[in-house]
């Protein structure tokens, strides 16, 4: 009888309990690194461009190799069709890599189209974006979650333009906590469902980790800076697909056909124009 029991246990365990896991080998032959543009331009501001190279998927990245992927010797040109400027390399502490290219003379202007050209190692990459007209919010406020004592969301109210297809992207920065503007949780949306309407939205705090429930909330006492931006269609498509890619990586139940779109020719990444308006909300 005991033997039978053991036998049964072995079978059940092997069938139901232990899914085996092995490490298969995949070789990517001759992966060709591509120029990655992570750049933006906003009305009234200089443009900023982070340049890197893409890395082979299975290569290990450490502090030494990471620097190898940061591009510091590229020629980067900004142009609005009439004027152009070669960008200057400066150090930055907010983003990776620790250098970026910025414009000193040219500033962004709503309604204008800008092209960025990157020349590096015999390859020329370029991308074009437009700064859409910024949209003013009617009001912003903080409200507590029904079930929480001190946690809540930022609310915004605005009227969508009925005559255009509009794409939006939102960011917040908590003073004293965040060093830069961080995209909200679900930061990209468009007017497909509210074209020309007055709309009220709640914004969840953006966070890298979604494991803790409370991370979607702002809390009483926070001084919140809100950046409300309009972007063009190509930029929206990039950010939307990028967001999905980040969320779905490694999930076997998500389709692997999803891929990040890009407005960069001969490269990867995004060159994005923002038409932004800024607000401050004191959570109380």
């Amino acid at each position: 009888m005991r033997l039978v029991k053991i036998f049964i246990t072995i079978i059940i365990f092997s069938a139901m309990g232990i899914f085996s896991c092995v490490e298969p080998n995949f070789e990517v032959e001759n992966y060709q690194s591509e120029i990655v543009i992570d750049g933006w331009i906003e009305q009234g501001k200089s443009c900023q461009v982070l340049l890197t190279l893409s890395a082979p998927y299975f290569s290990e990245i450490d502090s030494i190799s990471l620097r190898k992927y940061g591009l510091t010797r590229a020629k980067v040109t900004l142009s609005n069709g009439e004027n152009s400027e070669i960008l200057t390399l400066k150090p930055n502490t907010l983003y990776f890599p620790p250098y970026y290219y910025i414009s000193t003379d040219m500033k962004g202007k709503a309604g204008e189209t800008y092209t960025i050209t990157v020349e590096y190692g015999g390859v020329t990459s370029f991308a074009t974006t437009t700064i859409p007209e910024p949209v003013l919010l009617d009001s912003t406020w903080f409200a507590l979650d029904n079930n929480k004592d001190s946690l809540g969301y930022v609310w915004i109210k605005f009227k969508d333009n009925a005559n255009s297809k509009d794409y939006y992207r939102t960011f917040t920065q908590i003073i004293g906590e965040d060093l830069k503007y961080i995209p909200n949780h679900i930061p990209n949306f468009n007017d497909a469902y509210f074209n020309g309407q007055n709309i009220v939205f709640s914004l969840f705090k953006g966070n890298k980790s979604i494991e803790k429930e409370d991370d979607f909330y702002y809390k009483i006492g926070d001084t919140i800076l809100l950046k409300f931006s309009t972007v063009d269609r190509d930029s929206y498509n990039f950010w939307n697909s990028f967001q999905k890619e980040i969320a779905n990586t490694g999930n076997p139940f998500a389709s692997s056909n999803a891929r990040v779109s890009s407005n960069v020719t001969n490269g990867l990444g995004i060159w994005c124009g923002y038409g932004s308006t800024y607000y401050q909300i004191n959570a109380k």
Binding site: I11, I12, S20, E23, I61, K165, A192, G250, V260, G269
Partner: protein, 787 residues
């Protein structure tokens, strides 16, 4: 009405008598003990050297000049019967009883068809497997699986580890018409294909048609898998069943009203709970995966036949199977429930108008659904998807003068599809979304076979289908920028979109001699419901979608031909078949299932593409002797093309198999012991992997190059089993099956994911591919019996 029918019948008889120069002889072939009619038994008139086989009702008919003849009737598994018959008057009818050969149950018959059926039948790309064929094969948990056995034949692939789907000649899992006694079933499976769908006790045979699909079938583009349930014994009560480690099944057959009717009822249930209870003393952790999970399935079926009149019979059939899986973890407040159900029921009237004309009138209902319930703390998620069909058919079979056969009929199917009903409750956000579609398929068909000369036979047909997508439905209109600009609301029964499609088919066979033949076919098929895969792994959660104004009906054109040759008096059967397919309007989800939130309709998430598939199938089978078995090898290519993917070039489909090889062997040691083995090898599934990665705003994104440009490791596995026949007493027979699944414990890939270690803030990142496998080596023992 009855009077008119009688008059027509009389007129028919008069005409028949007037035109006669020979006498008609009618025969019925039955099993001598059970009185079951034997289908496709071969009948041979010795002095005339002509032969034919019995029809679906075990009958045969021949016109003979007056005289005495020696007739020989044979059927595999039965003793050959030789008798003298006298033909002197018209319509002489005689019953022939064949005695079963005493064969041990494990002595597998590869086919009960005529020994050269493969050479002579017009259907290229058609294969019939009988339950008898597979009872000897090794099987997971000791249960013979007829669907699984089909995968061992050329041109038919499994999807890999944990995938219950069948992929026929480059088609996808949703392109197979799966019929159980004419009831349509949608992706039937139990636990990732771990258990057979159908209880072997109730299945007679399964026919798979891969090419030249006749017009009486329709609506699925790649194949027909026609599973027929056994008809119950009409002379005595019979009970059979089996007990395995995880499940038990039982079937009861009984005659009704002295053989006027019969009924067969069967049921099966897993008892993991009981096993879990027994295994409890051996599990240390109270919170292990094992103790938190619960799984069961059951299925049941019934088939009833009754002779209402000598010419009219009624059949009532039903099948139901349900799987349920629960995962509870109180520590982390996680619960996950998943259920799926397959159910179908049918009533069929079979009427014989004349010796040449038979009609079937049937109505059937099919329901398939799955439901996933998940909760984590205060978050709740519910996803429900269903397909609900109601089908009415009227089919006629007209038997010609022995050289021809005509099938014609009409059918109507009403579909109600609920691709997704989503209910999300995440504290502040509550989201509900239901998409539901109503549609109709009206079809009419005609298919005929004609023997032109002794060695040349052709067959052809046409099926036309009028498809309607009906309201209630809201049609959203978008402008060039993809912006919602207008919507049209359709009320119930209002036609939103309609399609009229024609499916022609043609096939031929040319016999070189008694040992070899060449066959060819060409066919076009349209399919109006689509199975879209929602992830990179296949689960019962794939979604069925209707044809709408967005989604056009699928269209598949197939050409195939084959050379068939038997050796050594039909001991060896060989064939080589080639096929080429053009697939249009193939369906795929653009961004996976997780994108359902941001859309007005699930169908706007779908993209349409095309594909081509071609291949060569090789088959060698030894049919007679103590050692029997077959080798099957398919060399093929399956490509897809979707706009915007891989620069609009063709790329390998997920289930593209360059090599697909299987080997089965049965060896009878003696009257008690029989051994068998199955080996399969298949090229790994194509998959998309990132080739590189890059950094945007401190986040790491994957850089994909080409879709499906990588391959999973190859799938291969060896199973062995031994059958031991226990001492039998009178009518009671029983035997033990010892099976070992995956003998050398191969870790076949279920899915592959990547583990990323480190983060950019600490300037360290490393990536490793991990592969999850499901089924390790699994021994099992099953006791089966019948009396």
């Amino acid at each position: 009405m009855k009077i008119i029918a009688t008059i027509i019948l009389y007129l028919y008889c008069i005409v028949a008598v007037l035109g006669q120069t020979t006498f008609e002889f009618l025969g019925v072939v039955k099993d001598s003990t059970t009185k079951e009619r034997l289908v496709s038994a071969s009948v041979f008139i010795l002095p005339m050297q002509t032969g034919l086989s019995t029809d679906q009702q075990g009958k045969f008919k021949m016109d003979l000049p007056k005289g005495t003849y020696s007739i020989q009737i044979s059927f595999l598994g039965y003793n050959t019967l030789r008798k003298e018959i006298e033909v002197s008057t018209n319509a002489v009818s005689k019953t022939f009883l064949l005695a079963e050969k005493s064969i041990a149950v494990e002595n597998v018959n590869i086919s009960a068809k005529k020994s050269d059926e493969n050479i002579r039948s017009i259907e290229a790309g058609t294969l019939i497997l009988e339950t008898k064929d597979i009872t000897g094969l090794p099987s997971l948990m000791g249960e013979p699986d007829i669907i699984n056995a089909l995968r061992l034949t050329p041109g038919v692939q499994g999807g890999g580890e944990g995938n219950p789907g069948l992929y026929v000649r480059g088609g996808d899992a949703g392109q197979n018409l799966i019929l159980l006694d004419n009831m349509t079933l949608y992706n039937p499976s139990h636990l990732l294909g771990f258990f057979p769908v159908f209880n072997a006790d109730i299945i007679n045979d399964a026919t798979i048609i891969k090419g030249g699909i006749p017009a009486q079938y329709g609506g699925r583009a790649s194949s027909v898998i026609d599973v027929s349930m056994k008809e119950a014994n009409t002379s005595q009560l019979k009970i059979s069943g089996s007990m395995g480690i995880l499940s038990t099944d039982l079937a009861i057959e009984s005659p009704i009203n002295k053989g006027e009717g019969s009924i067969i009822i069967s049921g099966r249930r897993t008892y993991l709970n009981a096993v879990k209870f027994m295994a409890k003393p051996f599990i240390k952790s109270a919170n292990s995966f094992f103790s938190n999970t619960d799984y069961y399935f059951y299925d049941a079926s019934i088939k009833l036949r009754y002779n209402i009149s000598p010419k009219t019979r009624i059949f009532v059939t039903a099948f139901g199977g349900k799987d349920a899986y629960n995962l509870m973890d109180n520590e982390y407040n996680v619960s996950n429930r998943m259920q799926w159900l397959n159910g179908a029921g049918a009533v069929r009237l079979n009427h014989t108008f004349s010796k040449k004309l038979i009609a079937n009138l049937a109505t059937s209902k099919t329901l398939f659904y799955y439901n996933i319930d998940a909760s984590f703390n205060t978050y709740g998620f519910n996803l429900y998807s269903a397909i609900d069909d109601w089908k009415n058919t009227l089919d006629f079979t007209y038997l010609g003068d022995g050289n021809g056969l005509l099938k014609f009929g009409v059918s109507h199917t009403k579909h109600l599809l609920t691709p997704n009903k989503l209910d999300v409750d995440a504290g502040e956000i509550a989201y509900k979304n239901t998409s539901q579609y109503h549609s109709n398929e009206y079809s009419a068909y005609l298919n005929g076979t004609k023997k032109l000369t002794e060695s040349f036979t052709i067959s052809g047909g046409l099926r036309s289908t009028y498809y309607q997508h009906k309201g209630p439905y809201t049609h959203y209109v978008r402008n060039a920028k993809g912006q919602l600009s207008d919507s049209t609301i359709y009320n119930a029964e209002e036609v939103v979109e309609s399609y009229l499609k024609f499916d022609p088919n043609f096939s031929f066979i040319y016999l070189f001699n008694n040992q070899s033949s060449i066959k060819g076919s060409v066919s076009m098929i349209h399919q109006f419901v689509h199975l879209a895969s929602v992830g990179t792994v296949s689960l019962p959660t794939d979604v069925w979608l209707p044809s709408t104004n967005f989604i056009k009906p699928q269209q598949v054109l197939q050409m195939s031909s084959g050379y068939f040759r038997n050796f050594k008096n039909n001991t060896y059967e060989t064939s080589v078949e080639l096929y080429y397919k053009q697939l249009n309007n193939q369906v795929d989800f653009q961004n996976g299932v997780l994108d359902n939130f941001d859309n007005t309709k699930i169908e706007s998430n779908v993209m349409l593409g095309s594909g081509i598939a071609y291949g060569a199938e090789f088959f060698l089978k030894k049919k007679v002797g103590n050692t029997i078995g077959w080798i099957s090898y398919t060399l093929s290519k399956t490509l897809r093309k979707f706009e915007g993917i891989n620069n609009n070039k063709y790329y390998p489909a997920k289930y593209d198999r360059v090599h697909d090889f299987s080997f089965t062997l049965n060896h009878k040691l003696n009257d008690r012991w029989a051994l068998s083995a199955v080996f399969v090898y298949a090229t790994g599934n194509a998959l998309t992997l990132p080739a590189g990665r890059y950094i945007i705003q401190g986040n790491v994104a994957n850089h994909y190059t080409d879709v499906n440009s990588f391959r999973m490791p190859a799938y291969h596995r060896l199973d062995v089993s031994a059958n031991y026949k226990l001492k039998s007493r009178k009518r009671f027979e029983s035997w033990l099956n010892f099976s070992i699944y995956n003998v050398y414990n191969r870790s076949n890939p279920y899915f592959i994911y990547f583990a990323i270690k480190g983060d950019l803030e600490h300037y360290y990142l490393s990536v490793a591919a991990k592969q999850i496998s499901l089924f390790p080596i699994l021994p099992s023992i099953t006791w089966s019996f019948k009396f």
